[in-house]
């Protein structure tokens, strides 16, 4: 095990998979000469050359579609969106083309493509640059969605995503890139899609979450520990496929659940998970499942407003207290 950053973990995964499989290439804005807007692809141009590490024009719809066409003909493109905010422009190629190709051709043409980049808010990037895009990518069947929270998950899941034969949206976080953690050095360290990870065990209440909010959930769990509340933190890691068994096991154990996510509430991922839990574990719920999400507003620029808009450990604690009927 070595301690490396989330950025380095992604970089290792890309390097290893590109070395392992000639058909893997990376394309996106600034990924080559600039080493990536967030330096995730650092050194890859030098190692693999401009045929396999490719700076694209600012044409999200076009290069996403080019990637789909390349995947349809046997390559394994990794398409980097500088951030997923811009990928809304490419959504037609993702949903109407990549996700439906296998089905429309009844199995003749698969699309082994990864769309990756940061999703959600960083710091004071305002309304058009702070959007959590999970909902747009997970509603339609035919695509998978992965949201790693730690360096180890980032590496293991990206390698799995690249080896997967279906389109995979792989959502990172600007605020995670410098986050450090232990990562196995093994070249074949792969984490299968669809396996959640209990990041912290507890019996009083379950905090379900994904992506960078995992760390907020862990902070909240620590705070609660002081008041003798033992919170379990379940990181879904992949939203489709979804590890329903692990979710339900935790619900049956704690009987009280809070869903924490970075994005908006209306048809957010949390809404789906709540719907699933109440359908499949109705009798195990001692309280309604509460959700902690972004305030239902476009992200404001001002620091104080942005803080109010973002989910916080404090709000998670309050939600947990409510489902525990501890609030005064």
């Amino acid at each position: 095990m070595a301690e490396i950053t989330y950025r380095e973990a992604l970089n290792q995964a890309l390097r290893e998979e590109m070395a392992r499989d000639e058909s893997v290439f990376l394309m996106g804005e600034e990924v080559a000469e600039y080493d990536g807007a967030y330096k995730v692809s650092k050194g890859l141009l030098a190692e693999f050359g401009e045929q396999r590490v490719v700076d694209s024009p600012i044409s999200e719809l076009g290069f996403a579609g080019l990637g789909v066409g390349a995947a349809m003909t046997g390559l394994r493109p990794v398409i980097e969106f500088m951030t997923f905010n811009f990928s809304i422009l490419a959504l037609d190629q993702v949903i109407n083309h990549a996700a439906k190709m296998l089905y429309m051709s009844d199995g003749q043409i698969s699309c082994p493509i990864v769309f990756r980049g940061p999703t959600g808010a960083a710091l004071q990037l305002s309304a058009q640059h702070s959007q959590a895009c999970e909902t747009y990518y997970v509603h339609a069947p035919g695509i998978k969605l992965v949201t790693p929270a730690t360096p180890a998950d980032a590496k293991g899941l990206l390698k799995a995503a690249i080896r997967d034969n279906d389109p995979v949206a792989f959502m990172e976080g600007e605020l995670l890139y410098n986050f450090k953690g232990e990562v196995p050095e093994d070249d074949d360290f792969v984490i299968p899609l669809g396996v959640a990870d209990v990041k912290r065990e507890g019996e009083d209440v379950t905090v379900l979450t994904h992506g960078k909010m995992v760390h907020v959930a862990l902070q909240a769990a620590q705070k609660m520990e002081k008041d003798g509340i033992h919170a379990e933190v379940v990181d879904l890691r992949s939203l489709r496929p979804l590890d329903v068994d692990t979710i339900l096991a935790s619900v049956r154990k704690t009987n009280r659940v809070v869903y924490l996510e970075e994005g908006w509430s209306y048809v957010g991922v949390g809404a789906q998970i709540v719907s699933l839990i109440q359908e499949e574990a109705f009798d195990h719920l001692d309280a309604p499942v509460l959700r902690v999400t972004q305030a239902d507003v476009p992200m404001p620029y001002a620091k104080n407003l942005e803080q109010l808009a973002k989910p916080s450990a404090q709000r998670v604690v309050e939600a947990c207290e409510r489902v525990l009927y501890r609030t005064v």
Partner: protein
Amino acid sequence: MDLHGIRPERALELMDAMLLYRRFEEKAEEAYAIGKIGGFCHLHIGQEAAAAGSILPLREDDYAISAYREHTQALAKGVPPRAVMAELFGRADGTSGGKGGSMHIFDAGRRFMGGHGIVGGQVPLAAGMGWSIRYRGGDQVVVCFMGDAAVNQGAFHEALNMSAVWDLPVIYVVENNAYGMGTAFHRVSRTGIDEKAAAYGIPTRVLNGQDVLETYAAFEEMAGTVRDGGGPLFVDLQTYRFKGHSMSDPVSGTYRSREEVEGKIESADPIRVLADRLREAGHLTQEALEAMDARAREAAQDAFDAADASPAPDPEALYRNVYSELNPDGRLFFDGLDRPDFAR
């Protein structure tokens, strides 16, 4: 008598092909009228030369990709008429087992890559196929068909720019039939199709798409240029749609007059154009033509009968091929419905 340097035997094969496309589409029209085909159905009648002249010069390992008016292009790429018709019928023996329908004909083995319903959506896909060829150092060519209206989609411009920047081996073909549904092209553009690739420095050719010999000769030459690393090309292939936009649209109306349509059918039916040329050149007799046409009608009828005899898809097919594998660890489907075991 010049046949654009095309051997008479080859010219006769082009006639065979166009007759098949015509009779096949007429059968589809018939089948639609009696409810055997549902949804949208866009016929290629009047544009047969555009399909035969552009695809028959290609190699088997070259790719073709198109929009939703693609039945005859699939036939041209070698997809069996029975399989195409069965797909139109939504039957198990169709190219996509009935899941795709008229707008989504695919035959990966014959490198017919669809069959796409979003105007302009196939253009970036074609660029990606060209990318794969270049990536592997292959010498195949991609021919990408689109309608005239597709040039007003951003996807078209983004894809052409990248194709030029990276020298992708793709021939972008606008089947310019002068209308997008009920909108004449000149009402939605100040310039002609032939100017639409100028901003990318992609060489452009204007062809009479009703003259299959001119089209064939040009594509044979263009495919060679692209194969030799010449980079992308752009074609304004001028043609005309003899039928309505789709089976549910009128042939003529406010947007084009009956006279205009009849005049075109009179003067520019690609089959008549070729027949006259071959007759003058003494390569075709009326009897021979009728014999060829009879064979085409038989093939179309055979496709109809085979499609009609093909069963509806197995209900279990519903959940097949949404994903390549069913994930061992997590759940993929969330509709709460009972599913055949394979899809649990």
